[in-house]
């Protein structure tokens, strides 16, 4: 046999293999699919049926990147996501060729005036510039984008001293004055990794005039690293302020209240996405987290639904009084509004007793979380636009609106959304997911699994390696400052010299047919619903 023959035989074997291997694999898979008992589609359509499972698996990514329009996608659309990212990265919110909002859909609008305020008429405190970093695009090609980051001195857009919002002004030894209206909503260390918390802490500290809510997972050193003002949250499990046995520890509480960074405490009765106790997967409970929270390493934490410390309004108010007198700092509660009667009960008791919280955080049902059950996230609790005006009105009716500040939250990630909440009665606004996006969140929706690809909602060291604290901190700062700047833009357009002056009359709701109605309609409708409910029960 010559060389040619060898080559021919070799080629023959090669071709046979190329054909034979896939055929054998196909036959193997065919019988495997046909005989398995789990999937009916695969039993009826072996192998080919796999296409369904494969495309279903990569569907979310395909939708997010390719097929969803800019205004589609939940919880946040591509557009909302990009608005947050660009504000943080470039500190730039200009758009071209007009809005992408669907103007036929229903929604809230801000009423502008014929004669807006001039920039130099605004009551803003820009005395201390912030030294931050922003990205500048040098050039953009189809596959490349050349950009660099540079230092920049920016205006902080703080409220002037006499406009500052004060929590516990008349009730506390140490009231909390805050000169900006936007801060970070409760996100625990443990739900987020240490790098995310550090980036947030440093960014918020740099921006100033804002606050960081520790979340119910206790106060860690990561929260303190950037020296921001902190509102420490206390959940039913009392993490960080409990004895090893699980009871409330006044000693620990006193220790926390003596820290200069801790400006206020928030008792978490409920949260928008979960009107139940928190949940942290065992994999996320590292040694450090266990130490901060005083729990067991590696064990899944399911917090109780309610505090053991109190069971009704009077006992809760007693506890608040005691916390305030021991700590000397403002104490608030975080609630989700569902039943107006329960709310009215509490507010009337506030009036009657002269006691109660210094601030109420109203979390809309659309609020986010690391982990919860679908049924609770989707359906329990009213969204912020229905809840907030009712709480505000009720406090006014009982004549105690000046005693308590309202903090609103629920997907309020851009200045216009914040302004609408302010007009509905909020004094301050909490943001969680906007903050997560500014430290790199890509909305992979796996916060409950410890596999966050952006290293944000994970305690996994390897995944967190992707998150560079000293780069992301500037994005957090820029995002907050952009929000405040945007609020001043909107206030000027509405003829106000400060965003603290937003009232109900400055916004209007437009329905699908173009009819506009004032916020008061929401309040009237809520009251009617409650009356109908009472009649049925009686």
């Amino acid at each position: 046999m010559g060389l040619t023959d060898y080559l021919v035989i070799g080629l023959f074997i090669f071709i046979t293999l190329i054909i034979l291997v896939p055929v054998l694999l196909f036959i193997y898979l065919y019988f495997k699919d046909d005989r398995q008992k789990q999937h009916s589609i695969l039993r009826n359509f072996p192998v080919i049926g796999k296409v369904r499972y494969f495309t279903e698996h990569i569907g979310p990514e395909l939708r997010q990147y390719l097929f969803n329009a800019d205004n589609e996608g939940k919880p946040f659309s591509r557009k909302e996501y990009q608005d947050v990212v660009k504000a943080g990265k470039y500190k730039e919110r200009l758009i071209g060729f007009g809005s992408l909002r669907d103007f036929d859909a229903e929604g809230f609008y801000i009423r502008n005036t014929l004669f807006p305020k001039l920039t130099d008429e605004m009551k803003v405190d820009n005395a201390d510039k912030i030294k931050t970093r922003v990205y500048k695009i040098d050039g953009e090609g189809l596959f490349t984008r050349k950009e660099h980051s540079e230092e920049k001195l920016v205006d902080p857009y703080l409220l002037q001293d006499d406009d500052a919002v004060v929590l516990g002004e008349h009730s506390c030894r140490y009231p909390f004055r805050v000169k900006g209206q936007v801060g970070q909503s409760a996100m625990s260390y443990g739900a987020l990794g240490e790098r995310a918390i550090q980036a947030l802490s440093k960014g918020l500290g740099l921006a100033g005039g804002t606050w960081m809510n520790s979340g119910e997972g206790g106060l860690s050193n990561h929260h303190l690293v950037g020296n921001p003002d902190i509102i420490m949250q206390i959940g039913p499990d009392l993490f960080g302020v409990r004895k090893p046995s699980g009871e409330f520890s006044w000693e620990e509480f006193k220790k926390k209240s003596e820290m200069p960074q801790v400006k206020a405490f928030e008792i978490k009765l409920a949260q928008g996405a979960k009107t139940r106790g928190g949940h942290v997967e065992g994999e996320k409970v590292t040694e450090e987290i266990a130490r901060i929270r005083l729990v067991e390493v590696g064990k899944t934490i399911n917090s109780p639904n309610r505090f053991y410390e109190f069971s009704d309004v009077p006992s809760m108010f007693e506890w608040i009084e005691e916390l305030r007198s021991v700590g000397g700092k403002p104490v608030g509660i975080k609630i989700v509004v569902g039943d107006m009667d329960a709310l009215e009960n509490m507010i009337s008791y506030m009036k009657e007793s002269g006691k109660g919280p210094d601030f109420i955080t109203v979390d809309g049902g659309e609020g986010g979380t690391g982990a919860t059950y679908q049924e609770l996230a989707d359906t329990v609790g009213l969204p912020i636009h229905s809840a907030l005006p009712v709480v505000d009105e009720m406090l006014r009716q009982y004549g105690i609106r000046d005693r308590v500040k309202l903090i609103a939250s629920g997907k309020l990630v851009t200045p216009d959304k914040v302004a609408i909440a302010l007009a509905m009665g909020a004094d301050l606004v909490n943001i969680a997911r906007g903050m997560m996006i500014s430290v790199g969140c890509i909305m992979a929706q796996v916060c409950h699994t410890n596999t966050c690809p952006a290293g944000v909602a994970t305690t996994d060291k390897k995944l967190q390696d992707g998150l560079v604290v000293d780069e992301k901190m500037y994005r957090v700062c820029n995002y907050i400052v952009s929000l405040r700047e945007g609020l001043y833009n909107l206030a000027a357009a509405a003829g106000l010299d400060s965003p603290t002056k937003f009232e109900r009359k400055h916004i209007v709701h437009k329905d699908e047919l173009g009819r506009v109605s004032p916020v008061e309609n929401l309040i009237i409708a809520a009251r009617r619903t409650q009356m109908q409910k009472e009649r049925k029960i009686d």
């Binding site: 008429e121 405190d125 005395a127 001195l153």
Partner: protein, 209 residues
Amino acid sequence: MKVIVFGAHGSVGEHVVSRLLKNGYKSCAVVGNENQIGLLKKRGAAEVVVYEERLLPTLFEGYEAAIYLTGISPKGSSGRTVMVDHQSVIETVKEAERQGVKRFVMLSAVTANESIGDESREIAAKEMPDELLRQSKLTYTVVQPGALTDKPGNGKVSAAVTLESAELEIPREDLAEVLVQSLEIEATFNKTFEVADGDTTVSKALASL
């Protein structure tokens, strides 16, 4: 030396006021409206005056030097045009002469390099205040800066009658330092010069003019 700053509420003015304090001067900030008083006080102005035309004859009383930031007319908030701006420069300069002000430092509306090869009327109009000042009896300094940026200043600049570079930039903080130091560095007296970022400290760059 006590220094009066016109147009103090602008993006450069704020920095000028805080630099004056830092360099040991007492300053009076002239602003467009009441709302800006708090800001300038915080930045270190000993006194803040809201500009009104009738105040002009008394403004310079007790002040030996003035820093005038054009492009930011004291009448800015009344929304008048550039010609009125010129009018206010003329009035201010005349009043300064009358009151015997020793130093008058002006930030030009013309940026460095701008007038080269451009004979358009626009720049001619922008240059008019500079020319008016040069014709006065005051010991003047006219500073023509590169494009202003919000980068933090590093205290290093380059200064010359004409700077030779296509792209000139200067952080507002550094420009403020140049304006303030020009008050006393004799090399800048009766001169018009350009500044941009560079690698010489402000005092050296100005002294070598």
